[in-house]
């Protein structure tokens, strides 16, 4: 599904620059924003903060490091199911991304489409350097996201 031509596209990296590969999301988002002139609404550490920035957004691209057991540097892309009935525990430390998107829908503030780009991390210790595997995958992720942005319009 393509989004409306006149709507806005935003990108947000989720993660912490100071936790090695956890910073991959924000780093990729920064590079994409520089190249494509896409509005960068990250980095995000609290998903709830996204809601207020979703107003008028057609396509939101969220980039996050993942820890799924795939080889480090693996890139996965999927469209978020904002209408999912899945539940997750909500803690005082906020609501997770999936439930945040569902809340955005309930408040009528959701983007038309949310694409999540995950990049498998390897090292999540203190530090700012990406692991070699993740660093090698960053240009690929940037390229793929650029193509997504172009193809949606």
């Amino acid at each position: 599904m393509s989004v409306q031509k006149n709507s806005k596209t935003v990108i947000a990296g989720i993660g912490n620059y100071y936790r090695c590969d956890d910073g991959a999301g924000p780093q990729i988002a920064d590079e994409v924003a520089d190249i494509t002139n896409t509005e960068n609404i990250g980095p995000i550490s609290e998903p709830l903060d996204l809601i207020e920035q979703f107003e008028g957004v057609g396509l939101a691209i969220l980039v996050d490091a993942m820890n799924s057991g795939e080889p480090p540097g693996t890139i996965r892309i999927f469209e978020a199911d904002m209408l999912s009935e899945k539940r997750q525990l909500t803690s005082t430390h906020g609501i997770g991304l999936e439930r945040t998107l569902q809340l955005a829908v309930a408040l009528g503030k959701n983007p038309e489409k949310v694409i999540v780009v995950g990049i498998e991390g390897k090292v999540f210790e203190d530090g700012t350097a990406l692991s070699p595997e993740v660093a090698r995958a960053v240009p690929d992720a940037v390229k793929i996201i650029n193509q997504i942005i172009l193809s949606e319009y």
């Binding site: 539940r87 909500t90 005082t92 430390h93 609501i95 809340l103 408040l107």
Partner: protein
């Protein structure tokens, strides 16, 4: 099919309590209609903060202890600063102390609003969470998110960022905001105050179970202010003492089911800190609009119903917003923004009011300025025993409910106190026998 009554023999086990911070569980054992056992189990791993503060410099606790909690980092920073400054016989200017109170108001607003709207209110509608609440009352959730945002913004402007602020130091602030920086927040704070007033009326219409508690309430008190950033420690039992003497009155003990210490008065009596304690011990210090809201809501001084803490939290949100506006209106930028502190070999104590209750820090400093010993007493470890008392109370009065209803009721009884389990599990006692 008839639902199983809790009056029969049953165990209720909630393995992961939702809408609280951290990892906790709840175990209830009922035998032949008689409540045999209630345990609030805290299995969040211990976090060793007191141990790794040892040997660190005397100026480090505000940054290190802020990391204990992403919701109430300012509470840790403020109690740490007061304790270190107490040890070093230092006094900050009134302007610095007022700016601290302003930062703390931001934390109260965002923490209280998060709890009232996103975590607690859904219980009163039998809903799973705020997403479900937004489907039936979008307006309420939108107002809550607006208020939370201005609380976060206030923390960013004064503290440098909303989570784990970086602008706080022993002796004051690295830099102080200008009057213009703060005035830019006024319109949104005024709007948030309107919403907070509305919220007190809204939550007052909820249906509350008729539960009355009898444990002592403990909170800070102050001559003129509603206690947030300073005060002495008072109780409904009649004592009013310094933070040092308060620590002498409580005994923290390790119970097998919990990685958080249980604190009791004199080692025997459960007690409660937090909104219900502050409200009852400081009713006369409510700010003017909060006082009007309290009167309009019908809640009275002396209210001991923990389910009504949602009203008290809403009233305290009004207090924090009124205080933020008052402080900004009269703001005088601290100059300098901090006082120089010289370390000395001494012990210092600091107590402030985190959104969930009193947080006390104690540090023993060496003449080299390094920390020899640290003690942190957060609200949730103080409140644990009282929460278990509430659970006994709720269960004893609701044996006729079926298991599902009683389970929900018990979870709500825990959430009444907005426990921060991650905060409570910062210790570990290790006994090595050789």
């Amino acid at each position: 099919m008839e639902k199983e009554k809790a009056t029969s023999s049953c165990d209720i086990d909630v393995h992961g309590i939702a809408r609280v911070e951290g990892e906790g569980a709840l175990h209830v054992h009922i035998d032949n209609g008689e409540l045999k056992n209630v345990e609030l189990e805290i299995f969040e791993p211990p976090r060793f903060f007191e141990a790794f503060l040892r040997g660190r410099g005397f100026e480090e606790p505000p940054d290190i202890t802020a990391r204990i909690c992403g919701i109430c980092p300012v509470a840790y920073q403020m109690s740490a600063c007061l304790a270190i400054e107490d040890a070093c016989s230092a006094k900050v200017s009134d302007e610095i102390q007022t700016l601290r109170r302003l930062l703390y108001c931001g934390e109260w607003i965002q923490s209280h609003v998060l709890h009232v709207f996103l975590l607690h209110a859904p219980d009163f509608f039998g809903l799973e969470d705020a997403v479900e609440l937004a489907k039936i009352n979008r307006n309420a959730v939108e107002r809550g998110l607006f208020m939370k945002k201005i609380g976060n913004k206030l923390m960013e402007v004064v503290g440098g960022r909303a989570i784990h602020p970086v602008n706080v130091k022993v002796g004051g602030f690295y830099t102080a905001p200008t009057k213009q920086d703060l005035e830019a927040l006024v319109d949104d704070l005024k709007q948030a105050l309107e919403y907070a007033v509305w919220a007190t009326a809204w939550v007052s219409t909820f249906e509350f179970p008729d539960i009355v508690t009898s444990y002592p309430l403990v909170s800070l008190v102050h001559d003129t202010l509603y206690p947030i950033d300073c005060g002495t420690v008072a109780s409904t039992e009649g004592f009013n003492v310094s933070p040092k003497d308060f620590l002498d009155r409580i005994v923290e003990e390790h119970v097998a089911r919990s990685s958080a210490l249980h604190a009791k008065l004199n080692g025997e009596t459960p007690y409660l800190t937090g909104p219900m304690a502050r409200f009852n011990l400081n009713y006369d210090r409510l700010t003017p609009i909060a006082r009007e809201c309290a009167e309009a809501s019908g809640i009275e001084k002396g209210c001991r119903n923990p389910f009504k803490t949602i009203i008290m939290r809403s009233l305290e949100t009004v207090v924090a917003l009124e205080e933020a506006l008052r402080i900004i209106e009269n703001y005088v930028k601290p100059d300098p923004s901090f006082v120089e502190i010289t370390a000395k070999a001494a012990t210092g104590y600091g107590a402030t009011e985190a959104p969930r209750g009193i947080i006390v820090h104690r540090y023993v400093l060496g003449s080299d300025g390094l920390i020899k010993e640290a003690q942190i007493v957060p609200p949730t470890s103080q409140n644990q025993a009282a929460i278990e008392e509430d659970l006994k109370n709720v269960i004893a009065n609701n044996m006729d409910l079926d298991r599902e209803q009683l389970t929900n009721y018990c979870e709500t009884a825990v959430r009444n106190h907005d426990p921060c389990i991650s905060c409570s599990a910062h210790f570990l006692n290790v006994d090595i026998k050789r």
